[in-house]
C-alpha cells in the first residue's frame, strides 16, 4: 500500500455524521453499533450545556432502553411530581388560576399506567444529561470516532462519495475526509443544507425570546405547585417559568423582548420579582440567553449521498418537546437502511423510503409545534382581555378563571403528554408491505395499539427463558425479527431459507407457553396474532414491516422472501435448490 492510499484509507468513512447534538450522537451510536466506519464532527467543544430539549418521549426512551442509555439516565432529570403539566398564574405568589396536569396521582401510578403501553415512560431530562449518555455509548464502538471542536467548512458531492473539509477549531488545521454517505444533523441552521439543499417551506418565526437562569428560594411556591411550565398572565410580566433544574438548582424565566440586546440586570430582576409577585425576594441571576425560533420543512431530505435528519430537515418552536424526539426517530429510521445499503444487502432505493416515512411525521410535527406556540399565546391573550384593573391587584375575574379552565379541558393530560404523537406513528413506503387492514388514524392525543403494517410494533410484556421480564421492544434494533404467537414450524424453516437467500440475520421469536419467550398477559396474543397463523416481520427500527400468513414451507418461504426483497429493493435467486438447478 502506498503512503497516499494509506492516508486516503485513514480519512475515508462509510458515513460521516455532521453535527453532534442528540440526532448526530444517535446516528453515530447506531452506525457504530452496526460495525460501520463512522465519524461525527461537531463544532462545539462538547455536548450541550444549554437548558433545552428536556422532554423525553416514551418512544425515544424505548430506543434509549435498547441502547443502554436509559440505564445511564436512571438518576437524571426531574422527579415526576416536580415537572407536571402547565399552570397559569396572575402572579406566582397568589397561586395558580388554572392548570393542565400531565399526570394525576403519584410517580408509581404514572409508571404503572405507562407500563401498559411501553416498558419506559415519558420523562423530563436535561439535554446535557442525555447527550452525554448517548455520547458515552457511541464512543464505546471502536469503529466510531466522535470529534468535537471540529467544524465542517466545505462539502462536495462526487461520483461515488462525498468530500468534506473539516477544520479543527482549536489548532485551525484543516483536513479533508471522504465518506460514502453523509448524514447532516447540523441543526436548524444547517451548513450542509445551505450548500446542498433544494429548498424549504417556512412557517412563523417566534422571535426575540429571552431565557434567564436564576437562583431563588421558590420551593414553597413554584416548587410546591410542581408545574413544568408556569405561565404568567399579567401583561407587564407576561412570560413563563420553567421548573427548577434537578442538578444546578436554577430556575428559568422566559419572555419576549423586542430589542437587540437583552434587558439590563435591574430590569430582569424587577421583571422576575414582578412575575412572582414577590418584590423583596433575593434573586441571583446566572445567565441570560436570547433565542429565535423559526419554523421550516426541507423539501428534499436526500441529495444523492447526503441525507438530512433532525432540525436540519424540520425545525420549529420548542413547544411540545418534539424536536429532539422526532430527530432521534429520524436517526433510528435511517441508520438500519444505511447499514443494509452499505453492507450490500439492500438496494439504494431503500434510502428513499427514509424521506417518505419521516417527512410525513415531520409535517405533523411542524404543524403541532406551531399550533402549541400560538395556542398558549392565544389562551393567555384572550384571558387577559378586560382584566386590566384586576392585574394591578394580582388577580383576575371569576369569568377569566372559568375561561381558562374551559380552555384547559380539551387540552388535558394526553394533550400535554402527546401519547398519540409519541407512539402512534404510521409509515407508508416501499419498506412497508401493506395488507387489507385499516390503520388507526394517527392523532396527537390518542394512541391505538395495533400491528397493522407501518406502525411501531407495540409493547407487550414477555418472560424470557431465565424468567426475567422483558418487553417486545427489547427485541428490536439490530436486525429484522420474525415474531408471532405459537409459531408454526414451517415459519422457522422459512426464516432460515429467507435469511440465507438475502444474506441477512432473521431470528424467529416464538412467544408461546413453551417458547423462548412466554407472554406475561393476554396482550401479546391479542396484538400479535390477529388471525391464527399470522407472523409479523418487524424491521430493525421496531416498526411492523409485514404481516404474513402461509400454510406450508414453500408458501412461507416465498412470502417472506418476496416481502424482504420488496423492502430491501433487491432481487435474489430463489433459495430453492430445485429453482437453482433449473436456472
Amino acid at each position: 500500500m502506498t503512503e497516499r492510499s494509506m492516508n486516503h484509507a485513514a480519512d475515508h468513512f462509510d458515513t460521516v455524521v455532521c453535527g453532534g447534538g442528540p440526532v448526530g450522537l444517535s446516528m453515530a451510536f447506531l452506525l457504530g453499533r452496526a460495525g460501520l466506519r463512522v465519524a461525527m464532527f461537531e463544532k462545539r467543544p462538547t455536548t450541550t450545556t444549554l437548558p433545552k430539549g428536556q422532554y423525553l418521549h416514551a418512544s425515544t426512551g424505548e430506543f434509549f432502553r435498547q441502547w443502554g442509555v436509559w440505564d445511564l439516565l436512571h438518576d437524571a432529570g426531574w422527579e415526576t411530581e416536580d415537572a407536571n403539566g402547565q399552570g397559569f398564574y396572575v402572579n406566582v405568589a397568589n397561586g395558580p388560576v388554572a392548570a393542565i396536569r400531565a399526570i394525576e396521582g403519584t410517580h408509581e401510578e404514572y409508571v404503572k399506567k405507562w407500563e401498559a403501553y411501553s416498558p419506559v415512560f415519558p420523562r423530563k431530562v436535561p439535554a446535557s444529561d442525555y447527550e452525554a449518555a448517548i455520547r458515552r455509548r457511541a464512543e464505546a464502538w471502536p469503529n466510531a470516532s466522535l470529534h468535537f471542536n471540529a467544524r465542517v467548512t466545505d462539502v462536495e458531492q462526487r461520483d461515488d462519495d462525498v468530500r468534506l473539509t473539516v477544520e479543527d477549531m482549536q489548532s485551525h488545521t484543516v483536513k479533508e475526509v471522504t465518506a460514502r454517505y453523509v448524514v447532516a444533523c447540523d441543526g436548524a441552521h444547517s451548513f450542509i443544507r445551505s450548500r446542498l439543499g433544494r429548498g424549504q417551506d417556512h412557517g412563523p418565526t417566534f422571535g426575540n425570546q429571552v431565557l434567564v437562569e436564576f437562583r431563588a428560594d421558590l420551593d414553597d411556591t413554584l416548587g410546591r405547585d410542581g408545574f413544568f411550565h408556569s405561565f404568567v398572565l399579567n401583561p407587564r410580566y407576561a412570560g413563563w417559568f420553567g421548573s427548577k433544574h434537578p442538578e444546578s438548582g436554577l430556575w428559568r424565566y422566559s419572555f419576549r423582548h423586542d430589542e437587540e440586546t437583552p434587558p439590563v440586570h435591574e430590569v430582569v430582576l424587577e421583571r422576575i420579582r414582578g412575575a412572582l409577585g414577590m418584590p423583596g425576594l433575593p434573586v441571583e441571576i446566572f445567565q441570560t440567553y436570547r433565542f429565535d425560533y423559526s419554523t421550516g420543512l426541507l423539501r428534499h431530505w436526500r441529495e444523492r449521498n447526503v441525507l438530512f435528519a433532525g432540525d436540519a430537515a424540520h425545525w420549529h418552536s420548542p413547544w411540545g418537546g418534539f424536536g429532539m424526539n422526532s430527530g432521534i426517530q429520524d436517526a433510528n429510521n435511517l441508520a438500519w437502511k444505511l447499514e443494509l445499503v452499505l453492507k450490500g444487502k439492500a438496494g439504494d432505493s431503500l434510502l428513499d423510503t427514509y424521506e417518505q416515512e419521516r417527512k410525513s411525521k415531520a409535517r405533523i410535527t411542524v404543524k403541532s409545534a406551531t399550533y402549541n406556540s400560538l395556542h398558549y399565546q392565544a389562551i393567555a391573550e384572550a384571558a387577559r382581555v378586560g382584566e386590566g384593573e384586576l392585574f394591578a391587584q394580582g388577580k383576575i375575574s371569576a369569568e377569566a378563571q372559568l375561561f381558562l379552565s374551559q380552555r384547559a379541558v380539551p387540552h388535558g393530560d394526553n394533550a400535554v403528554l402527546h401519547t398519540g404523537y409519541q407512539l402512534g406513528t404510521l409509515y407508508r413506503s416501499q419498506a412497508v408491505i401493506s395488507n387489507d387492514e385499516v390503520p388507526p388514524v394517527p392523532g396527537l392525543v390518542e394512541y391505538v395499539e395495533t400491528t397493522v403494517p407501518g406502525v411501531r410494533a407495540p409493547h407487550a410484556w414477555l418472560q424470557d427463558a431465565k424468567g426475567r421480564r422483558s418487553s417486545t421492544v427489547d427485541l428490536w434494533g439490530r436486525r429484522f425479527v420474525l415474531i408471532g404467537h405459537d409459531i408454526q414450524a414451517h415459519w422457522m424453516a422459512a426464516a432460515e431459507n429467507a435469511a440465507r437467500a438475502m444474506k441477512i440475520e432473521l431470528p424467529v421469536i416464538n412467544v408461546a407457553k413453551n417458547g423462548t419467550y412466554r407472554p406475561l398477559d393476554a396482550k401479546f396474543e391479542m396484538l400479535y396474532e390477529t388471525r391464527h397463523g399470522d407472523v409479523i416481520l418487524v424491521r430493525p427500527d421496531g416498526f411492523v414491516a409485514a404481516k404474513l400468513r402461509a400454510a406450508d414451507l414453500e408458501s412461507a418461504t416465498g412470502q417472506l422472501q418476496e416481502a424482504l426483497q420488496s423492502i430491501l429493493g433487491v432481487t435474489v435467486r430463489s433459495a430453492s435448490p430445485m429453482a437453482e438447478a433449473l436456472a
Binding site: A188, H189, S190, F191, R193, S194, R195, G197, R198, G199, Q200, D201, H202, T205, S294, G296, R299
Partner: protein, 280 residues
C-alpha cells in the same frame, strides 16, 4: 393575465412563469437598502432558494461624493467583480426582487445599463414567490465564481439617463416626473416636476397594480405617447420602478440617477426650485 404588465413586457416576471420554466442558469438577487446588519439577518432568515444578498450601496451604487446624489452609479469594474463572484456569465438569467419592487427595479436598471440583457424583476417579490409554492432557504447561498475566461463584457450606457447639467437646461416640452412620496415632493422639487409617486404603482401586498390602473396613474400625470420624459426621485431607486413600468408601457423615459439628493447640493439649483414651483 393580460392585465399584468408582465404579460407583454419580458423584464417583469411572475413567480409561476419562473416555476414553470426551471433554469439552472438562473440567479436570484435579493436587493436591500436598509440598515446593512438588519437586512442581512432578514435575508439569512428567509430568501428565495439560491438567491444572493445585494445591498444597493455596495453593489448597485458607488460611494457618494460631496457633490453627487446619495446613490451614484457603480464603477463597472467593481460591479463586474461582484457579478463574477456570483458566477454570472453571458448566459445567466438574472431575477431581482426585494422588500419593495423599487429596490429590485434599481438593480434591474443598473444591470441593464451595464449591458446585461436577460434581467427581470419578480412581480410581488418573496411573498408572491412563497404564495406560488416557490422554495425558500435559510442561511447564505454559496456560488461558484465565474471562470476567468467566462464572458461578461460590461459596458456602460445601455439605458437612457440624463445628467444634472442637462436637467438644469430642460425645456417645457419635457415631462419631469417626481417618483417620491408626497411629503418629500412638497418639501422641494426640480422645477416644473409633476408628482407621480412610484409607491402608488404597487398594492399593499407588494405586487404591481394592473395595466389599466398604472396607465391611469400616468395619464393623470400627463404622460403621453412619444413624449420626452425624465424621471427622478431621492436617489434613483423609486424612479427606477417608474422607468421600469414606463418602459413596459412603451415609453422611453430617461432616468436622472443623481435625483433630488444631487440636485439639492447646489444653492443655485435650490433657488430655482423655490422660484419655479409647479402650481398645485
Amino acid at each position: 393575465m393580460t392585465h399584468k404588465l408582465s404579460s407583454f413586457f419580458g423584464d417583469i416576471v411572475q413567480p409561476d412563469q419562473l416555476l414553470e420554466r426551471p433554469n439552472d442558469q438562473r440567479l436570484f438577487i435579493d436587493v436591500r437598502l436598509g440598515e446593512p446588519a438588519d437586512e442581512f439577518k432578514d435575508y439569512r432568515d428567509c430568501h428565495i432558494l439560491g438567491a444572493v444578498h445585494a445591498q444597493i450601496r455596495d453593489v448597485f451604487a458607488a460611494q457618494p461624493t460631496p457633490y453627487s446624489g446619495n446613490l451614484p452609479l457603480p464603477e463597472l469594474a467593481v460591479l463586474e467583480q461582484q457579478l463574477r463572484a456570483w458566477g454570472v456569465h453571458d448566459g445567466t438569467e438574472v431575477i431581482l426582487y426585494g422588500p419593495s419592487m423599487a429596490l429590485a427595479a434599481r438593480g434591474w436598471w443598473v444591470l441593464r445599463w451595464a449591458g446585461l440583457t436577460n434581467v427581470k424583476v419578480l412581480d410581488g417579490g418573496l411573498k408572491a414567490w412563497i404564495n406560488q409554492g416557490g422554495p425558500v432557504a435559510q442561511g447564505e447561498t454559496h456560488r461558484i465564481p465565474t471562470a476567468a475566461s467566462g464572458r461578461l463584457g460590461l459596458h456602460a450606457g445601455n439605458m437612457p439617463q440624463i445628467l444634472v447639467d442637462e436637467v438644469e437646461q430642460l425645456g417645457t416640452d419635457t415631462l419631469v416626473l417626481d417618483a417620491r412620496d408626497e411629503n418629500s415632493y412638497l418639501a422641494g422639487s426640480i422645477p416644473r416636476a409633476r408628482h407621480m409617486p412610484a409607491a402608488e404603482q404597487w398594492t399593499p401586498a407588494g405586487q404591481l397594480r394592473t395595466v389599466s390602473e398604472i396607465e391611469d396613474l400616468y395619464g393623470s400625470a400627463g404622460v403621453k405617447a412619444g413624449g420626452d420624459i425624465v424621471v427622478y426621485c431621492g436617489g434613483g431607486v423609486l424612479s427606477a420602478l417608474t422607468v421600469l413600468t414606463l418602459n413596459a408601457l412603451g415609453h422611453k423615459p430617461r432616468l436622472y440617477v443623481g435625483s433630488w439628493s444631487e440636485w439639492n447640493k447646489n444653492p443655485d439649483r435650490m433657488a430655482r426650485s423655490a422660484a419655479e414651483r409647479m402650481p398645485a
